[in-house]
């Protein structure tokens, strides 16, 4: 590898065992690169386990700002003997592998196209620290120190970060700095530092933040004015409610009484969580539940109820790998079909498709506005990659003039002046009736039911009365089309017959792939979907291209099916590009997929 090409363009992968405390060391490393001004992302590849199983953390720094995974590993820190062979094999030619040389390793000289660097991390830490647990933790901090020497990471930045982290525990700062020094000094003494793969101060990240999507979405819930959260713990959505709780503790305490201006209920199961969300929204609160695929399956009965009875509700689906329990700690975009048409009978639900934590924040707010405007369940389709990984995003901003869109709600004064209120009557042709909150006025009382009802809110088994209501729901669906976030078009530099449709966490891989393909003379327009039902622009985009690659992270091409079903697009134009092994989609998958397709077409 040439020198210049790997300055501020590298992937560090750290292999450890779950429960050894490596997360904080890896966070420290990533934040140090961030403070040096490098565009950086961190991906946690972790097991469904509390202690002992292998876990990896991948940091990508890229001077051009590419955020997706690549198939590359430039520097491997192989701390886990159990996965050593696998980790060794994964290093890209010309790359480096660092291991703990306290103990000899089998197969260690197997590769001669990479550089293997042994550092006696455990031995050094055992000599310098007394407590067993501290020794284990400090081993991690020591490899950060070694990397600082090897990759020119600013030790002053590391020091500042440690001082900030342990501001209230100065003793810990000392210990951590000691461990940093151990690794740093050893590397300086024994190796030629820095390596060609290294960091260099660049730019300014002060207008950016590091945040995971679940935290950003939770923050969106706080700013949207959500007051009730009901949930059942499930990976990878749990941290969304944890974050909501944390932000509420900070922002939603009555300054005088200390009382909570929010209510979080840990339900007995997802069925109950959905019911609580409906009950709270029906009563006039903004309420939500975070869950994942298995939870959506359980909530489906209530989702159909909310659709038919027209109750707003926000469902955060942080998608993981299915079917069934699948792989709870791996990522996919596999609940599209399930959520789009959740529940029995004719049902259709708006979906929001955030691509990163920045959109998680914004779309969380939009989700509540939409749910209340449309009086229907709205699905926020995040995934584990967006939800649980650390992303660098432009800082979040908030418009203090924002007021929630509560939709068509009649208050006590309007009800007082009305002769009679009918819950399901469409008075202005947009398919959305008026609703009322309990506790406001007896004239606003109505009876909500999942059984057949007419436009007046009464029970019915009458053929025409039934059909009138479900036909009106279709009018509402059309209204939704213009209200969900519009797709974003990124045109190719040159006019092209090729298009890509992607959404959510595939965005980074597609952006990078577009540039890489353009370098080889392949130009592709890119339309990023952000909402369902699809805007007219989606059908127009498909119509305007000979071949459109639909990039998605599931096996069965669910988005492609939705596009065919909902836009009437010609299936022959839509080529699938699928990635569904549970790891976030790398840009290579997009480049390779499109290249192969073009070669095949050329041969045919």
């Amino acid at each position: 590898m040439s020198d210049a090409s790997h300055v501020n363009d590298f992937v560090i992968k750290i292999a450890t065992a779950n429960g050894t405390g490596s997360a904080s060391a890896n966070g420290l490393l990533m934040k140090a690169l961030f403070r040096m001004g490098l565009p950086v992302t961190g991906k946690n590849l972790f097991p469904s386990n509390i202690q002992g199983l292998p876990t990896w953390y991948e940091i990508r720094a890229n001077r051009d700002g590419y955020m997706s995974r690549t198939g590359r590993v430039d520097v491997m820190v192989a701390m886990n003997a159990q996965t050593y062979s696998q980790d060794l094999a994964e290093v890209s030619p010309g790359g480096f592998l660092i291991y703990d040389s306290t103990w000899p390793r089998r197969d260690m000289d197997q590769r001669d196209d990479i550089t293997v660097l042994g550092i006696p991390l455990a031995r050094m830490c055992n000599e310098h620290f007394d407590v067993a647990r501290i020794r284990i933790l400090m081993k991690n901090v020591a490899y950060v120190g070694a990397l600082a020497a090897l990759m020119d990471i600013d030790t002053e930045v590391l020091k500042t970060l440690l001082q900030e982290t342990f501001a209230s525990k100065p003793k810990l700062v000392e210990g951590n700095l000691e461990a940093i020094r151990l690794g740093y000094d050893y590397a300086k003494e024994h190796f030629t530092c820095p390596l060609p793969v290294r960091a260099e101060r660049m730019g300014d990240n002060r207008k950016h933040i590091l945040i995971d999507g679940n935290s950003a979405a939770a923050l969106g819930c706080v700013y949207a004015g959500a007051t009730v959260g009901a949930w059942y713990p499930i990976t990878p959505s749990t941290s969304l409610m944890d974050a909501f709780q944390g932000y509420c503790e900070r922002f939603r305490k009555d300054p005088e009484t200390g009382e909570n201006l929010f209510c979080i209920i840990q339900a007995e199961d997802e069925l109950a969580a959905a019911g609580m969300v409906l009950g709270a929204n029906w009563t006039g609160a903004r309420a939500f539940t975070p869950t994942s695929g298995p939870g959506i399956s359980l909530m489906s009965e209530f989702i159909g109820f909310a659709y038919y009875a027209e109750i707003p509700a926000v469902f955060f689906d942080v998608q993981r790998v299915g079917p069934s329990t699948g792989m709870p700690t791996r990522t996919q975009q596999c609940d599209l079909m399930t959520c789009a048409y959740a529940s029995h009978g004719d049902t259709r639900h708006p979906m929001l498709l955030p691509a990163n934590p920045h959109e998680c924040f914004e779309m969380a707010v939009q989700a509540f506005d939409l749910a209340e405007r449309l009086q229907t369940p709205v699905f926020f389709m995040s995934d584990l990659d967006i939800g649980m990984n650390d992303w660098m995003i432009p800082e979040l901003t908030w418009d203090d003039a924002y007021q929630p869109d509560r939709g068509k709600v009649l208050g006590p004064d309007e009800l007082e002046d009305m002769e009679r209120f009918y819950r399901y009557l469409d008075s202005d042709g947009d398919g959305i009736p008026h609703r009322t909150y309990p506790g406001t006025h007896h004239k606003g009382a109505y009876f909500v039911r999942g059984s057949g009802h007419n436009q007046y809110g009464g029970y019915t088994e009458d053929a025409e009365e039934y059909q009138q209501v479900v036909d009106r729901l279709l009018v509402k669906w059309d209204t939704a089309r213009d209200l969900v976030p519009a797709p974003v078009l990124t045109p190719a530099e040159q006019k092209s017959d090729l298009g890509i449709i992607a959404f959510g966490s595939s965005d980074g891989a597609v952006i990078e792939a577009m540039d890489r393909l353009a370098d080889t003379g392949v130009h592709v327009d890119y339309l990023r979907l952000r909402g369902f039902p699809f805007a007219d622009a989606v059908a127009e985009f498909i119509e305007a291209h000979e071949t459109v690659f639909v990039v998605e992270q599931n096996r069965d091409a669910q988005m492609r099916l939705l596009l065919i079903q909902e836009t009437g697009a010609d299936p022959a134009r839509l080529a699938s590009l699928l990635h569904y092994n549970g790891l976030p989609i790398p840009s290579d998958a997009v480049v390779d997929g499109i290249t192969e397709h073009i070669l095949k077409e050329a041969a045919a």
Binding site: R35, R206, H208, I209, L219, V222, Y223, G225, V228, A230, R250, F251, T257, G258, E259, N260, L261, C263, I264, I265, E268, D269, L271, A272, A274, G275, M276, G279, A280, N281, W282, T283, G284, A285, E301, F302, F305, E395, L396, T397, W398, D400, Y402, Q403, P404, Y437, P438, G439, H442, G444, A445, F447, V448, R449, S451, N454, G458, Y459, T460, E465
Partner: protein
């Protein structure tokens, strides 16, 4: 329209309650249940109780699951919001509604199929959380709408209309609620309105989850010889152990107050419940005594009724959660949004 609005009949000289409403103002649409159904008697008792307590209809929410019993919220208090939810999930909807607006007076109507089978978990957790609601189980031992299958409350040995004998043990909602730590557990009988109306009033006024299991015979599928949930069986095995009398805050206690047989329980709003015990040795404030009494009498096939356990000091889910006394639905957005400055400060820690 396939629902029937109940004609409002103006009776000259009809009595008004404290807020100027007639009893008929607490009625709903006409019942479509079978003639003689126990549930209709319970509906009438609910109407009477809410009218007597002078609760404004707009402040009431009535919720239910699925089944014959769950149809009944349409038959009372038409001026209240109603929520006929999905099977067995009434408690979740009620929990969410009350999380959002804790000032609402919530009445949940469920049945033995709804609460003891599909919704058994939700029933248990509403009791455990002590959600501030009246939870009525209209208990008839059968599934009516699906034509007479045994429910989980059917007693062992009870015969179906077709002659099949139930071999499965029954689930007693009263024993279950007491065992789960319920704060108010009672049983009534649809055929004894004199006892039932005060029970319902006490349940509404109780601060916490008031479970009232009401034996309510199904005239179509479970009112025959050999059934243990029939009118005849219930009457012949009726054991009103503790009758309740509701006494409003300002009201004087006129009845004899004899310590051995009566007990006075003061509720949160200053009102009182005077309990008259048939058995002076049974204090319905002691969980273990209630369980022993139930066990001894139900093993003889008796239907023990009345307030069987009451504890006014158990914390509500809101007390435990530390929720503000103001209903969350009443908080203006300005109190909920931290604003842009706070967001900027927060993000300093994310760099």
């Amino acid at each position: 329209m396939t629902f029937i609005a109940k004609p409002k009949i103006k009776l000259p000289g009809e009595q008004l309650n404290e807020i100027g409403l007639k009893r008929s103002d607490y009625e709903g649409v006409l019942s479509t249940l079978c003639a003689g159904c126990g549930h209709d008697s319970i509906t009438a008792a609910i109407v009477q109780a809410f009218w007597e307590l002078s609760i404004a209809p707009k402040d009431v929410v009535k919720l239910s699951g699925i089944g014959c019993s769950s149809k009944t919220p349409a038959y009372f208090i038409s001026g209240a919001h109603g929520f006929n939810s999905v099977h067995g999930r009434m408690p979740a909807v009620a929990s969410g509604a009350l999380a959002a607006n804790r000032d609402l007076v919530a009445i949940g109507v469920s049945g033995d199929g709804d609460s003891l089978s599909i919704g058994f978990g939700q029933f248990g957790h509403a009791v455990r959380r002590n959600v501030n609601m009246l939870y009525i189980i209209e208990n008839n031992g059968v599934y009516g709408l699906t034509k007479g299958q045994f429910s989980a409350s059917a007693d062992r040995g009870s015969k179906s209309k077709r002659g099949a004998v139930n071999r499965m043990r029954s689930i007693d909602p009263v024993a279950t609620a007491i065992a789960l730590g319920g704060s108010f557990v009672a049983r009534g009988f649809s055929g004894d309105r004199e006892q039932l109306v005060p029970l319902i009033k006490a349940g509404i006024k109780h601060r916490g989850c008031a479970v009232i299991d009401v034996i309510s015979p199904c005239v179509t599928f479970n009112d025959h010889e050999g059934s243990t949930k029939s009118y005849a069986y219930t009457r012949s095995h009726y054991n009103p152990a503790v009758n309740a009398e509701y006494i409003a805050p300002a009201e004087e206690i006129k009845a004899n107050y004899d310590k051995g047989e009566t007990m006075l329980v003061t509720l949160h709003d200053g009102s009182r419940i005077l309990l008259r015990k048939a058995d002076s040795s049974f204090p319905p404030t002691l969980r273990s005594a209630a369980m022993r009494y139930l066990e001894a009498h139900s093993s003889r096939g008796e239907v023990v009724t009345g307030v069987l356990y009451i504890n006014e000091d158990m914390p509500l889910v809101h007390d435990i959660a530390g929720t503000t006394a103001t209903p969350l639905t009443d908080l203006p957005y300005e109190r909920l949004s931290p604003g842009s400055e706070a967001l900027n400060r927060l993000q300093k820690r994310m760099r």
